[in-house]
């Protein structure tokens, strides 16, 4: 055989191929996602198997985003997909991964459209039902989302299907079922540290939602054993420690989590622990930091509107901004948690009737979530419906008396006041106007009939 032309000629052109697509290499030992990024980058650099290599790189970056929680990884993934599509406008792999990237960027309508397009191309690919289900549940189309999860389960039972099925169970009031399914998902994902840790964190959240602090702490510890320094598990464990009154430990855990991923909800929770520990100055420092994050987010665009709205409402700060953000989120989404945030922001802004309607929507699935009932209860009380208000508050505290470090005491005080027949006045609203009760069906009654377990 004669001399053959080398297949690979590294050079400027190839360096350009990766420009702007790669994150700064971490100082710590590379994770599986880091290795996947490196492998895909090598394929891109070698110039072979394009555009597949770009799609592979995008998927690896999305995997990385799950560890780093860095939205820049979404942008890099989107850019890699753009390269793939530029080479092959009809590339199927790029389309199915696009739905994933759009979910990360909170473009839920775009994600739904991409998932539906991919589904039309390949109706037997389980992946498309997973991304479609995610988009639909964020948009509040729960029935269609559930059907998509059922199809996903038929095509590929496994951690993706189990975790989504557990979410359906939890939303519709079957927490025991959700826990059983998540345990199964965890048992079957031992080889994927991040997937296992995510599953365990959500198992912990379900335990916490049922007020099982000890069980929740154990599961968060399992998550940390699987993926050390996992910010979601640190935050979960911190919340348990705070609920147990172990403020020092909670503060240390939140600090570790915040140092890894400075998310506003984590910083706010850190402030709450300081407040509960009686250190108002330190709490204020953290709250001010959240507000600073909010200003930066408003300037640059962010996916944290809901967390910020809840923070402002909870802490009686920047109430018009809370309402603006909550409305913006509700318009973008449509899920029960957006309705809940809107209800709470409306309530704090003194718009009780609108708040009641939003709270009613937030409880439309009968979700046994203490925060949803707390908000509904406070709103009902403000509207002069003490019986319903008390029912919701009782339900919230029965579900999880530790649901929120600062709000749970308010729930208890308000309930006591309602039960004592006292007229309720909320801190920052106009004087309460008595109104005839019960012009809406009682959501509490429906849920309370069988939701506890």
């Amino acid at each position: 055989m004669p001399t053959l032309v080398p297949a690979c000629r590294p050079g400027r052109a190839l360096a350009l191929a990766l420009a702007g697509l790669l994150p700064v290499p971490a100082l710590a030992a590379p994770s599986p996602a880091d290795r996947a990024i490196a492998a895909a980058a090598r394929r891109v650099q070698n110039g072979r198997a394009l555009p597949d290599a770009y799609v592979e790189l995008a998927a690896a970056l999305m995997k990385k985003s799950r560890e780093s929680a860095d939205p820049a990884d979404y942008r890099r993934a989107a850019a890699a997909l753009d390269r793939a599509v530029a080479l092959d406008p009809q590339h199927y792999g790029a389309l199915r991964v696009r739905a994933w990237v759009l979910l990360g960027q909170h473009d839920f309508r775009g994600a739904r459209a991409a998932a539906e397009q991919a589904l039309a191309r390949e109706p037997r690919d389980w992946w498309n039902y997973a991304t479609l289900a995610d988009a639909l549940s964020e948009l509040g189309e729960y029935d269609r989302a559930t059907t998509a999860v059922e199809r996903l389960m038929e095509l590929r039972p496994g951690i993706a299907a189990y975790t989504r099925a557990a979410f359906v169970r939890a939303l519709t009031g079957d927490r025991a079922g959700a826990i059983a399914i998540l345990e199964r998902a965890a048992a079957g994902s031992t080889g994927d540290a991040e997937g296992l840790a995510w599953t365990l964190v959500h198992l912990g959240h379900e335990r916490f939602a049922g007020g099982e602090l000890g069980a929740a702490a154990l599961v968060y510890a399992r998550a940390l054993a699987a993926l050390p320094e996992y910010h979601l598990a640190l935050g979960g464990l911190a919340r348990v420690r705070a609920a147990e009154g172990r403020f020092g430990e909670a503060i240390a855990l939140y600090r570790r989590a915040v140092a890894l991923v400075p998310a506003p909800d984590l910083v706010a929770a850190l402030g709450d622990v300081h407040a509960a520990a009686g250190d108002a100055d330190e709490a204020e420092e953290q709250y001010a930091l959240v507000e600073q994050m909010g200003r930066l987010a408003a300037a640059a665009g962010s996916t944290h509107g809901r967390q910020l709205a809840l923070f402002y409402a909870d802490h009686d700060r920047q109430l018009p901004e809370a309402l603006r953000l909550a409305r913006q989120e509700a318009a973008m989404r449509g899920d029960i948690y957006s309705d809940d945030a809107l209800a709470w922001a409306l309530y704090r802004n003194g718009r009780f009737a609108e708040a009641a309607r939003a709270a009613h929507r937030a409880l439309r699935l009968g979700t046994p979530d203490a925060a949803l009932h707390y908000h509904a209860g406070m709103i009902a009380a403000a509207l002069g419906r003490p019986r319903r208000g008390a029912a919701h508050l009782r339900r919230a505290l029965a579900l999880n008396s530790h649901f929120d470090l600062l709000q749970a005491p308010t729930a208890r005080d308000t309930l006591a006041a309602l039960e004592a027949g006292l007229v309720l006045r909320t801190g920052n609203t106009a004087p309460h106007r008595p109104r005839p009760a019960a012009d809406l069906p009682e959501p509490a009654a429906r849920v309370a009939s069988g939701g506890t377990s």
């Binding site: 055989m1 053959l4 995997k63 559930t146 039972p157 299907a161 099925a165 987010a297 009939s449």
Partner: protein, 528 residues
């Protein structure tokens, strides 16, 4: 408090500057897992061969037995405590045999189910011994105290299945080993915890006197030797470590006949599986139990097709009336398994099936291969090899009917391209006698001497891949050569990895002692 306040301010400042560059850092919706690994259900290799242990070599051909192996939980780093590696209790493992050559592999099925008992949940390591507890010397009872979790399994034989719309209907279903629950062999932790690992293995080899079947489930060393990094890099095989041959090497990793005939060295590739372990399910069955007529293997009944599958249970998604807990519905789907992975021939999933179709392919029955025929005919890897080799070397043009015939059809099937059935099975002619371990060649039927001449029988080795597959067959070189065509065979192109350093294991389960967690290492070329 002063110090902590001061630290907190520092953190706040650091945060603020981090935020300035990445506003609103962190994701904030419920991102359930999407792209995840499922090692418990991931089949990494399948082997099917007439057993080559001395006992079977000594048997009369009519009494011989066949070993069928599926390996799962790939790429085990031996030191990965504290829980090490197990089979998945929620996965159905199946080895399936087509014995009437109709491509539908439902004639004999072996099902394996696992169950884990946690005897001491507070123990900080899954396995302890030689310290507070005695070394692990038994799988059950006295001497097994160090095993805080014990995984056991059942084996069921299913025969004569007919596929109907609703699924398979089978005429017989026999729990083997009298329905007993058998212990698996745990991961090889290290010499202090398990000073006599192979004696544990001996306890984990179970013999069913009634049927003459032997089974084993537990950890073994990986024997599949491949330069995975190079092969997955679009078959960009490594030549930089090889002695250059002017005008020829590089770019193509061609070898001299003498280099290729040496089964005792890895000339230039990197064996990415060096030092890794797998979980093995091995079953040895008398040939007469596998043939369609229950007779010893002969020219008409002697060839079987084998494939393996793993399936996971579905769970019911809807919990019924909102707000009403209905626990019973949770396991309504308990009997409904869905296949999530399958394997027969090596490297089909990796090198032939396109990325976008891999999951679908894995969920499909081996006999429904017609829908994937394009991938076999337009072999993408052939194009990649052509690109590397350049114009001087001719890789056969599509459609690659030779590949279709090799992987999807029996020898005596109608060879015309339009005529099926097309079924991706590992085919084994059980009439071919086993080669004794000292004569096993990594290239089996394609073995040759230092001059490139085929090894003459009876010293030759016809009992290897593609006639079934044995643990040490060099399938990577053969697959690359099949894909590349006659020029690749003539130039002995390969990945430069031919052997696994532990060599051939001459006894059931025919895979070497797993690397222990304490002394594990991964060897690159030239390393002792």
């Amino acid at each position: 408090m002063q110090t902590s306040r001061w630290t907190a301010s520092l953190v706040a400042v650091a945060l603020a500057s981090a935020l300035a560059s990445a506003p609103g850092r962190a994701a904030s919706h419920r991102e359930a897992p999407l792209m995840t690994l499922d090692p418990g259900a991931d089949i990494t290799d399948v082997y099917a061969f007439v057993s080559y242990d001395q006992a079977n070599l000594d048997r009369a051909p009519a009494d011989r037995k066949v070993t069928l192996i599926m390996n799962v939980v790939p790429g085990q780093e031996p030191g990965s405590g504290p829980n090490y590696f197990a089979f998945d209790d929620n996965v159905l493992y199946e080895i399936k045999v087509d014995n009437d050559r109709d491509g539908t592999s439902s004639d004999v099925i072996y099902q394996f189910r696992f169950q884990t008992e946690v005897t001491n949940p507070d123990q900080f390591l899954a396995t302890l011994g030689g310290g507070p507890l005695p070394p692990v010397s038994r799988l059950e009872g006295d001497g097994s105290e160090g095993l805080s979790r014990k995984q056991r399994f059942t084996v069921t034989e299913i025969r004569d299945c007919k596929f109907r719309n609703k699924g398979p209907k089978c005429r017989s279903r026999t729990p083997l080993f009298g329905g007993r629950i058998l212990p698996t062999v745990p991961s090889n932790i290290g010499p202090r915890t398990m000073p006599g690992y192979e004696s544990l293995v001996a306890q984990g080899i179970h013999v069913d006197d009634e049927t003459g079947i032997r089974v084993f489930a537990g950890q073994r060393a990986e024997t599949f030797a491949i330069d995975l990094g190079a092969v997955f890099d679009t078959v960009f095989l490594r030549v930089e470590n090889a002695t250059p041959i002017p005008m020829l090497r590089p770019p193509l990793p061609i070898q001299t006949a003498a280099e290729d005939a040496n089964d005792f060295a890895n000339p230039f590739g990197v064996n990415n599986f060096s030092g890794f372990n797998v979980n093995t399910i091995a079953i040895e069955v008398p040939i007469t139990r596998l043939t369609m007529d229950g007779q010893p293997a002969n020219a008409t009944n002697g060839t079987i097709g084998v494939w393996t599958a793993t399936s996971r249970q579905m769970v019911t998604v809807r919990s019924g009336i909102p707000g009403k807990v209905d626990r019973d519905r949770l396991l309504e789907g308990a009997k409904s398994f869905r296949q999530v992975s399958r394997m027969a021939n090596p490297l089909v999933n990796e090198l032939i099936i396109p990325i976008g179709l891999k999951d679908l392919w894995n969920a499909t029955d081996a006999n429904a291969e017609t829908q994937f025929l394009d991938a076999y005919r337009n072999l993408a890897i052939a194009g990649a090899l052509q690109a590397i080799a350049g114009p001087a070397v001719t890789v056969p043009d599509p459609p690659r009917e030779d590949v279709v015939r090799l992987l999807l059809k029996y020898d005596d099937q109608d060879p015309s391209p339009d005529v099926g059935p097309f079924s991706e099975l590992l085919r084994l002619d059980m009439t071919v006698p086993p080669t004794s371990p000292n004569l096993i060649a990594r290239l089996g039927p394609f073995a040759h001497d230092a001059d490139g001449d085929p090894t003459p029988t009876p010293a030759g080795d016809p009992a290897g891949f593609p006639n079934g597959r044995r643990p040490n067959d060099d399938v990577t070189d053969l697959v690359v050569r099949v894909a590349g065509g006659p020029d690749f065979f003539a130039n002995f192109v390969g990945d430069g990895v031919g052997v696994q350093e532990q060599g051939i294991t001459p006894d059931f389960p025919f895979l070497p002692t797993p690397h222990d967690g304490r002394n594990r290492r991964h060897r690159d070329p030239g390393e002792e």
